[in-house]
Structure formats: structure tokens, C-alpha cells
């Protein structure tokens, strides 16, 4: 074969696959009747979703008073959950866009599912700003539309409005990027299907034919969208961090927030990708496409970003001390030693200490360890947002207004409910769409399939030996 095959890279596709087998392996889960495991998982997820709907209805009916927020602590679980979900929603576009620009071929095994995860996570994130307004039916006030009040425009100088633009742009662009990638794969399913399924996938595949010119435009589009999505993904969490950083609350008013939030977002996003991938590859038997090499690569990203986040935590503490400003110093003393010390401990141990085990290659390539770690990181990153939001607000300038906050069942229910929403969407996705990008995996087969990589590696090793013996 004339394709360029690197002898030192680990094969990304195992099992000596042919093009047809790739189609078969990835498309067939959408054609089978669902397994018992899927049905059970789906029932649990839908139950969670139903509880979510109930809690939203309760919040709207009773009002925000059904939450335990008070005059001191105005943001609690709601915004914690919002930032947590948005953070999770960063891995998909990072994998598909940034790794596309860096020409990382391992991206092809995980990008489809990661992008789907991104979209579902952003859907979950978007719920909270809307619900926490209290009067959900006036939610459209956040958009700058000509109105009869003047028109009185929205405040374009407010980071909260920047957030509206950032999140809705991010959602739209991620959705377009993901769907455009899905179109050729839907066409593959369409051409295998019969009857009503054929009609449905025909609708979804937009009449894709696979013409050379279409592929050329498709690649051009993907590249430019990746180029646009890369700064976009960095801007979104930067703007989320501005919600805090542009305020004058000690502990929030820090310039380190944008890079620190972005690193944290990538960190938590990859953790959620790992959680989903470990389960998906097992249930759908895709271990030959989402290999240990893929898992190891993502664990490396988790290690790096986790350590960046750790450095940011320590930098914050140092700068608070170094600033000589007592309110700033108190804010950070309070974070570590105050009434919420336990959430700081949770954050530090889950986010900074535990990922350090990934310095060992053996642990990076262990599926069980990866799964447990991914859950740890998910929990740790939730604690991080809780530390930033609730801990900081609980102790403000006036000791007489100091307060403590514990959520009500409604707030806990909303969080658990969004998990239900998220997994409902993901489970539907895993049943109806190819969870691995079929066409993209085919396009790297000659460069990364084990039947091509291994003989080449052997050939190079032999050649190297020959050179050694002759010299």
C-alpha cells in the first residue's frame, strides 16, 4: 500500500478490519433490538427526566422560594450545576475541533460520541440560567429584540448577557458541526436499511451521495468549522468565568479565572467522555475502535489539565496572601478553613491529587481505574464550582449577614434530574446514530489499522537490526 504508515504509532483500529466490517460493526447496534441493559438504563434515565420535569414544575409553581437560597447566598446549586454542565460540554468540541487542527488521528474513534455528549451537556447547562430566573415565561427578555418599552435594550456590557450569546452560539455551532459529520454516516445506515427505517434515515441524511465534489466541500467545511470552533470553545468558558471575574466579590475578582476555568472545563469534559466511552465501548462491543490507546491519550489530557487546575488553585492562594488585601486573604482562608472546608478537601483530592496516578502507564491503560477516576473527577469538578460559588458568598463583607446554605430536595432533584435528561438523550443517540464516525474511521484505516501498522513496524525493526549488524 502506498498509504503512509507510521511504524511507531500504536494502531488505532484493531482486528484487521476491512471497510465493510467497519460499517457492520458500527452500524449494526442501531439495527438490533435494544439489549436488556439498554432498556433498564433507559428506564432509569427517563425516570430521572420525569423527576426533573416535576422539580421544574414545582420551582415554577411555588417559586424560587422552594430553594434554600437567601439574601447572602444568591447562587447555589443552580449556578454550580450550570457551570459544571457547561464545563463538561467542552470536551466534545475540543476533541473534534482542536484535535482536527492538530491532525490527531485518535480523535476519529471518540469524536462523534464526545460531540453528542457536548450537545447534551449544553442542553442540561442551559436549563439552569432559565430556571433560576424564576419567571421562566419571561426568559425571552434576555434577547435584544425591539420591544414596546422604549425599546429598552439588554445590557451589552454585562457578562451575563455575553454568556447568553456565548452559550447559544456554542450550542448552535456544536450542533451544526456534529450533524454535518453525521450526514454521510446516516447515508450509510440509510443504504443498509429497509422500509420505514430507510425513510427515516433518508430524511436525516439530506440526500447524501458521496460525490467527490461533495466530499471536497465537506472537508473544507469541517476544517473551517474546526478553525472557528477552536477559539469559540475557549471563549465560552472564558465568558462563563467573566460572570464571576468581572464582579467585585473577593475570591471571584481574579484575572486567573479565564485560563483556569478553561483548563477545568477540558478536565471535566474529558472525565465525562471517559465515563461514557468506557461504558459505550463495552456495551456496543467497540473495543477495537475505542482502544486502550484512545483511553490512554484521554487520560494524559486529564493528567495535564488536572495539574494545570491544581497549579491555579495554589496560585490563587499565593496571590491572595501576596496581595496584602485582607478581604481577599480572608476569602481564601475561608475557602480552605471555613464552614465549607469539606468541599475544598473534596475538590483538592479529586481534582489535583487523584489524577496524579496517571503518571503510571499501567494505570492510564486500565479501564477500571479510568472509570473510577472519571467519576472522581466529575465529583471534584462539581465541588470546585460549589467552592467558588457558595463558599465565597457565604462570608461577605458584613459578618452580620454571614450565612450557611444547604439545598432543598428541589435543588437536589433538579441536579439529579438533569443527569436523567442527559442520559436519556445519550441513550437515544447510542441507539439511533453511529457512535463512532464511520467515514472518518475508514479514512484512517490504511494509516492506523493494525494489519497495516504492525507489518510495517516489524519491517522497520528488521531493517534497523540489519543496519546495526552491517556497521
Amino acid at each position: 500500500m502506498s498509504a503512509v504508515v507510521s511504524p511507531i504509532r500504536e494502531p488505532l483500529i484493531q482486528g484487521g478490519k476491512t471497510y465493510h466490517q467497519i460499517t457492520e460493526d458500527i452500524c449494526s447496534p442501531t439495527e438490533r433490538t435494544p439489549s436488556t441493559a439498554w432498556v433498564l438504563a433507559f428506564i432509569v434515565a427517563v425516570a430521572g427526566l420525569a423527576f426533573y420535569v416535576f422539580c421544574v414544575a414545582w420551582t415554577i409553581w411555588v417559586g424560587i422560594g422552594s430553594w434554600n437560597l437567601n439574601r447572602t447566598i444568591g447562587w447555589g446549586w443552580d449556578i454550580t450545576n450550570f457551570v459544571w454542565w457547561v464545563g463538561i460540554g467542552h470536551a466534545g468540541t475540543l476533541i473534534s475541533a482542536i484535535l482536527l487542527l492538530f491532525r490527531q488521528k485518535w480523535r476519529t474513534g471518540v469524536n462523534r460520541a464526545a460531540e453528542a455528549m457536548t450537545i447534551f451537556a449544553v442542553i442540561c447547562a442551559g436549563q439552569f440560567p432559565l430556571i433560576h430566573m424564576g419567571r421562566l415565561w419571561l426568559g425571552f427578555f434576555i434577547f435584544p429584540y425591539p420591544n414596546t418599552r422604549g425599546p429598552l435594550w439588554v445590557n451589552f456590557n454585562s457578562p451575563l448577557l455575553w454568556d447568553v450569546f456565548a452559550i447559544s452560539t456554542y450550542f448552535t455551532v456544536s450542533l451544526l458541526f456534529w450533524y454535518t459529520g453525521l450526514v454521510p454516516d446516516f447515508a450509510t445506515i440509510r443504504d443498509r436499511a429497509k422500509g420505514i427505517r430507510k425513510k427515516i434515515y433518508n430524511f436525516l441524511s439530506f440526500g447524501w451521495t458521496g460525490s467527490a465534489k461533495h466530499w471536497q466541500r465537506f472537508e473544507s467545511l469541517s476544517l473551517v468549522l474546526a478553525g472557528l470552533a477552536t477559539p469559540l470553545v475557549l471563549s465560552v468558558h472564558t465568558i462563563v468565568s467573566f460572570d464571576f471575574a468581572t464582579s467585585v466579590i473577593p475570591g471571584w475578582h481574579t484575572t486567573i479565572f479565564p485560563p483556569y476555568f478553561v483548563a477545568g472545563a477540558i478536565f471535566s469534559g474529558f472525565a465525562m467522555v471517559q465515563t461514557l466511552m468506557v461504558m459505550t465501548r463495552k456495551v456496543l462491543k467497540l473495543e477495537q475502535y475505542i482502544t486502550l490507546g484512545h483511553i490512554e491519550s484521554m487520560n494524559k489530557v486529564i493528567l495535564v489539565t488536572g495539574t494545570i487546575v491544581g497549579v491555579a488553585y495554589l496560585t490563587e492562594l499565593f496571590i491572595a496572601w501576596y496581595s496584602g488585601y485582607i478581604y481577599e486573604q480572608f476569602a481564601f482562608y475561608n475557602r480552605v478553613m471555613g464552614p465549607y472546608w469539606w468541599s475544598y478537601v473534596g475538590m483538592m483530592s479529586c481534582n489535583v491529587l487523584s489524577p496524579q496516578i496517571f503518571w503510571w502507564k499501567k494505570l492510564r491503560r486500565n479501564v477500571f481505574v479510568t472509570f473510577v477516576m472519571s467519576i472522581f473527577v466529575n465529583i471534584g469538578m462539581w465541588f470546585e464550582r460549589f467552592v467558588i460559588i457558595a463558599t465565597t458568598l457565604a462570608r461577605d463583607y458584613l459578618p452580620s449577614s454571614w450565612s450557611y446554605y444547604t439545598p432543598t430536595w428541589v435543588e437536589v432533584g433538579l441536579f439529579i434530574g438533569t443527569l436523567g435528561l442527559f442520559f436519556t438523550l445519550y441513550l437515544i443517540f447510542a441507539r439511533t446514530a453511529p457512535v463512532v464516525a464511520v467515514a472518518e474511521v475508514k479514512s484512517i484505516l490504511k494509516a492506523a489499522g493494525d494489519q497495516y501498522v504492525e507489518p510495517n513496524a516489524k519491517h522497520y525493526a528488521e531493517a534497523a537490526k540489519e543496519v546495526e549488524t552491517t556497521h
Binding site: 455551532v173 447524501w208 451521495t209 472537508e219 479514512s443
Partner: protein, 176 residues
């Protein structure tokens, strides 16, 4: 595109390398390829088919520039002409605060515009049924198609000969 049916003579190849060689052979024997269909983008195919580079990214730039101007000029108009408000003692025209929204609208316009343009120029839309030559083209077959609607028998034979010579695994005729 014409609405009349076309008679298409097409050959299927099993590997993209065979396809690339076959396209070279077709070019050498001056056969007029109608289109090539593949299950994934085959690199190196575009120059052989004489396809010019896509200008989609230029369209994307224009959409993006429209987005930049729309967002920035709109916010400028609102805060300096329509309803000036002082926020935090800053000037009405507080340019740095406009940057985030300007950026987001630029990205949004460029992306949406490009995607809509892509589907429009490719003649694709939700629910549209495009006639396909073979179901395996989206699976593992690489297809070269010739339009033989008004061709002489001799020309058809020449194309068939080319398919056999270039190692096509199947040769079929279809009216689409």
C-alpha cells in the same frame, strides 16, 4: 441540474488505490468521467478529477465579516444613539465590553452561513431523495460513473473495456 433521466454506466472498485489508478487511466484515454462516489474522502482524487479548490471558506469569511459588523455596529448604535446608558462610569462607547458579543456573533454567522451554503450548493436538504447508483457506495465500494445517455454503442464498449482493464470488480448500468 437537468430533470431528465440519465443513463449511467458505472464501475465499482474495492480499494481507493485501485480507484486512483483507474481515474488516471480514464484521463489517459480521454474518457469523460461524470462523477466519482466514495464512502469517505479520498485524498489525491480532486486534482485528478480537475476539481478546483472549494471556495466555501471565502463565503465563510464574508459571513463572518457581516457578523462582526452587525454586532459591533448594532451595539454602537444602541449605546451611543438609541438609548445611551452609563454603566459603571464607563464611556457610552465602551469598545472592550463589545468584544465578546462581537466575537460570538462573528462565529455564529460564519458557521450558520457556511453550513447553509454547503447544503444549498450540494443540492442537499432534509428529506431530499437523491438517486444513488449503488447502496454499497456508502459502505466499501468506490465508484466511477459515466453519463452514457446519448452515447454510441462503441463508446459504451470503450468504457466497459476501460473498466475491465482498470480492475473494476463490477460494472453496471442504471438510469437515474
Amino acid at each position: 441540474m437537468s430533470q431528465e433521466n440519465k443513463d449511467v454506466l458505472y464501475g465499482l472498485y474495492d480499494d481507493e488505490q485501485d480507484l486512483l489508478k483507474a481515474v488516471d487511466q480514464a484521463n489517459a484515454s480521454h474518457l469523460d468521467i461524470m462523477d466519482v462516489f466514495t464512502p469517505f474522502p479520498v485524498h489525491g482524487l480532486d486534482p485528478k478529477l480537475g476539481l478546483a479548490e472549494s471556495r466555501l471558506h471565502i463565503a465563510g469569511f464574508i459571513y463572518g465579516a457581516i457578523g462582526t459588523l452587525t454586532a459591533f455596529l448594532f451595539m454602537t448604535w444602541v449605546f451611543t444613539r438609541d438609548w445611551p446608558i452609563i454603566f459603571g462610569g464607563k464611556p457610552y462607547w465602551s469598545v472592550p465590553a463589545f468584544i465578546p458579543i462581537t466575537f460570538e456573533v462573528t462565529v455564529l454567522m460564519a458557521s450558520v452561513g457556511m453550513v447553509v451554503t454547503f447544503y444549498t450548493i450540494c443540492g442537499m436538504a432534509p428529506g431530499l431523495v437523491s438517486p444513488t447508483l449503488d447502496d454499497r457506495i456508502t459502505d466499501d465500494k468506490f465508484c466511477i460513473a459515466f453519463d452514457v445517455t446519448n452515447a454510441e454503442e462503441a463508446d459504451k464498449d470503450k468504457i466497459k473495456g476501460f473498466f475491465t482493464a482498470s480492475g473494476a470488480s463490477e460494472v453496471n448500468m442504471k438510469t437515474i
